[in-house]
């Protein structure tokens, strides 16, 4: 047992948690100050974690001195820090946005009272998830973030939000149960929950298969992969807009993150291959089905929520490239592509939901036709939507182009045609559903704004949108970050980064 060692990464979990507690106690008094300090401290923690990672390489950290298999063990590598960076960027923008979003009306005041502690709590839990490296801590952080998310969805108090949150709650619980069952099976078979130890001790067979299937099924529901996506649109669309942004950009990535971690090298190839292939098929189906449904929606936030269903599909389309026998070049390309997609979608989708919040706030309704002619009144928001849209459509220089390019080059090297067809069709369908929004923004109709939105709302959305273009033009720093501590067999593509 070593002494108390806390690295800078502890601040990523600790500061938001601390902020949540303080905000729960002090309520509205001094809220701006507490929020500001929490954001600044969390950002500093991220920068210090990154600095440490860059100087010492991937490192592990046992909290409270308890090592595997019982304690809380963290692993800090490039992938983790990339996701943490996404979370901090989105989190800061959402927080700044929310300070202005919840106004002075009594209903808003009450909502803000609950929003801040819940949101910072969720933020902290997510950071814990990204830092963890064992199956049980993932369970805990998944559960904590899921419950916070349920409460946040219900925040608006509208009937559809309550239905949406209840449905989400039931499914999240069922998903956790599946996951937990899988973990129990695994523990009984290997006597450990630490990834390295499990990987070393697990032998192929029916037990391993059952564990993998249970864990995967739980995570699939958590990350709303087709056909388990049905809870997502109502939940994400009925939540307050800053909450929608967090849910779509960050929370659903939690399930993906754990799957990506467990699927790269944890399971014996003999049993994992079928699962990987199945996830790929589901991912492709999600892209097409989600996009088609997005095109059919009549409400702004439902369009964006179904777009999330589609965009999550791309993440899973990378999985079949990790099967046994695929070259390391290809596997690593697809792996980097999936990680990149998680980031690019997170930034763009958060920007889109925040911008949608501005538009809905301005018009007081959220049907698509309410958007007609709004672009002329809110050019900054319209620009934010356009930039985020470029990324989601996968058109360069949007960040969404790069993961698609990586996956398509991986597919072509493997001689697989189907993924390419899906990727390109998905892009065209995204043009279809996004231009239903843009078209109306550009219409010549004269509209009167119900409430002119505060400027800061627009700027928060624009900031994330610009970031989603910047990340489309700065792949090399991001890929070289990803290279640090990349799982074995997934580094070949990244080695070529200067």
């Amino acid at each position: 047992m070593t002494g108390w060692t806390l690295g800078p990464e502890a601040g990523l979990v600790g500061f938001p948690a601390l902020g949540a507690v303080v905000l729960a106690i002090t309520a509205a008094r001094g809220r701006r100050l507490v929020v500001g300090l929490t954001l600044a401290a969390t950002l500093v923690a991220l920068v210090m974690t990154l600095t440490r990672l860059l100087s010492v390489g991937a490192y592990e950290q046992d909290i409270g001195g308890w090592g595997a298999p019982l304690g809380i063990g963290w692993r800090i590598d490039g992938f983790a820090v990339l996701m943490l960076g996404l979370s901090v960027a989105v989190g800061i923008a959402v927080s700044i946005y929310s300070l202005a979003y919840f106004g002075d009306e009594p209903g808003d005041r009450r909502r803000a009272l609950f929003f801040w502690p819940l949101w910072f709590f969720l933020w902290s839990a997510l950071h814990g998830l990204f830092l963890s490296r064992d199956l049980f801590n993932w369970y805990v952080t998944l559960e904590l973030s899921g419950l916070a998310a349920v409460a946040l969805i219900a925040l608006s108090g509208r009937a559809d939000a309550l239905t949406g949150s209840l449905r989400y709650l039931l499914l999240a619980l069922a998903a956790s149960l599946l996951y937990l069952l899988g973990v129990v099976v695994l523990y009984s078979a290997t006597g450990s929950l630490d990834l390295a130890q499990v990987a070393a001790r697990l032998t192929p067979g029916p037990v391993a298969l059952a564990a993998i299937l249970l864990i995967t099924a739980g995570l699939v529901v958590k990350s709303a992969l087709f056909p388990a996506h049905f809870w997502l649109p109502s939940a994400h669309a009925s939540a307050p807009s800053p909450v929608s942004a967090v849910l779509s950009a960050l929370v659903v990535k939690g399930g993906f993150y754990i799957l990506a971690r467990t699927m790269t090298g944890l399971w014996p190839a003999a049993v994992a291959d079928g699962v990987l292939l199945g996830l790929g098929w589901l991912g492709g189906a999600a892209v097409l089905w989600g996009s088609l449904l997005a095109i059919r929606q009549q409400h702004l936030k439902l369009v964006i929520a179904y777009s999330t269903v589609a965009q999550l599909g791309y993440l899973f389309m990378a999985f079949p490239f990790w099967m046994e026998g695929v070259g390391e070049q290809v596997a690593s390309r697809a792996w980097a592509g999936a990680a990149y997609q998680a980031v690019s979608h997170g930034l763009a989708k958060a920007a889109l939901f925040l911008a949608a919040g501005v538009l809905i706030h301005a018009r007081g309704r959220d049907d698509l036709d309410a958007l007609r002619g709004l672009g002329a009144h809110l050019p900054v928001t319209a620009t934010a939507m356009a930039l985020a849209g470029i990324s989601l459509m996968g058109i360069p220089p949007g960040a969404g182009f790069l993961p698609k390019w990586m996956m398509m080059t991986a597919a072509i090297q493997e001689g697989r045609i189907l993924p390419i067809v899906v990727l390109i069709t998905g892009g065209l369908l995204a043009v279809g559903y996004l231009f239903r929004i843009f078209r109306r923004l550009l219409a010549a109709d004269d509209v009167v704004l119900a409430h002119p939105p505060p400027r800061i709302l627009e700027l928060a959305a624009l900031g994330l949108a610009i970031l989603s273009i910047v990340t489309g033009l700065s792949s090399l720093p991001i890929l070289s970050l990803l290279r640090i501590g990349a799982p074995e067999g997934f580094a070949a593509y990244l080695e070529s980064v200067p």
Binding site: T409, I420, G427, L428, V431, A444, D445
Partner: protein
């Protein structure tokens, strides 16, 4: 002085920064916006002329930015770049002047001029792109930034046109993307290189590379309004006149044509294309488009629609020239890239003037307009005669070289196409000239507003007059260093 490595980037930034600044300015800051627009356009022209002189002296301008592992974004200036970039820079300046006058007092001018600037930035990017992925990036940006301009009026009709425009162009882009992906898989990352980059690779991957060639050429052909992918262009006529000018002469269709030029000369290499018989299919397709566009133009009474179908026809001259193997054909095709731009933009300026001052949109309404708008119609007449191919105007130079190319490459049937097309050009342009100059107006024209002596404001008159003069000069002064035909000769010297 700016170092050589930064000049290509600076060329982009002159209009990009202008666009951002305009977005940040208020809608009613008209004077400052006008000043910004003109400063940006003049600055860009100066930089492009600087590059022109430098490239002529053998200078290399190149900006290289890492994009993905092993893949860079490359901006650089070669002969082709100069040909396209100077066309765009000159015409952007004139179109900006025109648009300022045309949109005086209209709503949403901030949005218009911002996207106008972004659109030109993308066009410059297309002309400066040093490899396929850079080209594709700017090509896509061009599509997206043009959309708000196409739907600028915001009516149902313009929204429909915008949807058609997107469906066609992004469909084309998807073909290009697949082709590019496949090509990179076979050939690895490469920069555009004179005489091509494939070499022996072609023989080893004959089928794949043939399919890729068709994917790329047809993909770019959509924007170049190649038959049967041309329908978006006439539909997009609902856009304001300066946008039509931009679509037809400077940016969009030219980007498509320029893409085909790059694929044939700087990716595959004209010799490989010829040896592997990749070109005849496109020669036929170009010939069909030329005749089809002209026939459709004949039937249009709407002024801008007739011009639009004329563009469909005329832009395919470029492809025709490319698809003929032989220096003369290449020269004809390349020079027409510029010549068509100059002539067609004149016509759209004139059509815009007629619509703006007299609110006339149909050719049958133009009786005697020449008396009311003599300068405008004078410019139109020069451009129309040039299109028909009357010597020594711009169109004659193009057609002459294409004709020589047809004989040189052993395809005399092309001559018949050229003759037929010229007759058709005459058949749809000459009646306009006759109506305009010789028919009696049904009723006397209203006097110019505010007792002006001029037929329209200076903003609207200078651009068409300038391009009409250019139409004459590029023909007359073909021997001078900065004439397009001279550059075409220069480029061809390096490609064969």
């Amino acid at each position: 002085m700016i170092p050589d490595t930064l000049i290509p980037l600076a060329v982009l930034l002159t209009s990009f920064i202008t666009g951002i600044a305009i977005l940040l300015l208020g809608e009613d800051r008209v004077r400052l916006r006008t000043a910004l627009n003109l400063t940006g356009a003049v600055l860009k022209l100066v930089l492009v002329m600087l590059m022109l002189w430098g490239v002529f002296q053998g200078h290399a301008y190149q900006t290289r930015i890492p994009f993905l592992p092993g893949m860079d974004l490359v901006l650089r200036a070669d002969g082709m770049t100069i040909l396209f970039a100077s066309l765009s820079a000159v015409l952007w300046l004139l179109t900006t002047i025109y648009a300022i006058g045309y949109l005086e007092g209209a709503p949403h001018r901030r949005r218009f001029f911002a996207y106008f600037s972004f659109c030109v930035t993308a066009t410059m990017g297309v002309s400066l792109a040093g490899n396929l992925v850079t080209f594709f990036l700017f090509y896509e940006v061009l599509t997206l930034t043009t959309y708000p301009l196409v739907v600028h009026r915001g009516t149902e009709k313009s929204m429909k046109a915008g949807a058609v425009y997107l469906a066609y162009t992004l469909g084309g882009s998807a073909l290009v993307l697949v082709g590019m992906l496949w090509l990179y898989a076979i050939a690895g990352p490469f920069d555009f290189t004179e005489t091509g980059v494939l070499g022996d690779l072609f023989a080893e991957n004959r089928i794949a590379l043939t399919v890729i060639f068709f994917l790329l050429m047809l993909g770019f052909g959509v924007k170049a309004a190649l038959f049967p992918f041309h329908a978006w262009l006439p539909a997009a006529m609902v856009a304001p006149a300066p946008v039509s000018a931009l679509l037809h002469a400077v940016a969009v269709v030219k980007a498509g044509a320029f893409g085909m030029v790059r694929v044939v000369y700087d990716v595959y290499g004209i010799t490989v294309c010829d040896e592997e018989a990749l070109l005849p299919a496109f020669m036929v397709l170009a010939a069909i488009t030329i005749l089809y566009g002209s026939l459709r133009a004949l039937a249009q009474d709407d002024f801008k629609k007739r011009l639009a179908f004329s563009t469909v026809s005329q832009v395919s001259y470029i492809l025709l020239g490319i698809a003929m193997f032989g220096p003369m054909g290449t020269i004809g095709g390349l020079v027409h890239l510029v010549h068509q731009g100059i002539m067609k933009i004149t016509m759209f300026f004139c059509a815009g003037n007629v619509a703006e001052t007299l609110h006339l949109h149909k050719i049958s309404e133009l009786k005697g307009v020449g008396r009311r708008l003599p300068l405008t119609m004078g410019a139109f007449t020069v451009a129309a005669l040039g299109m028909i191919g009357v010597p020594p105007l711009a169109g004659f130079i193009s057609k002459w070289h294409l004709g020589l190319g047809a004989i040189e490459s052993g395809h005399p049937w092309i001559l018949a196409v050229l003759v037929a097309s010229s007759l058709l050009n005459a058949a749809y342009f000459l009646p306009i000239l006759r109506t305009v100059w010789f028919d009696q107006p049904d009723s006397p024209w209203p006097a110019p507003e505010g007792g002006r002596r001029l037929e329209a404001s200076w903003w609207l008159l200078v651009p068409p007059l300038a391009t009409a003069v250019l139409t004459i000069l590029v023909g007359l002064l073909g021997g001078s260093v900065i004439s397009p035909i001279h550059w075409a000769y220069l480029i061809v010297g390096r490609e064969y």
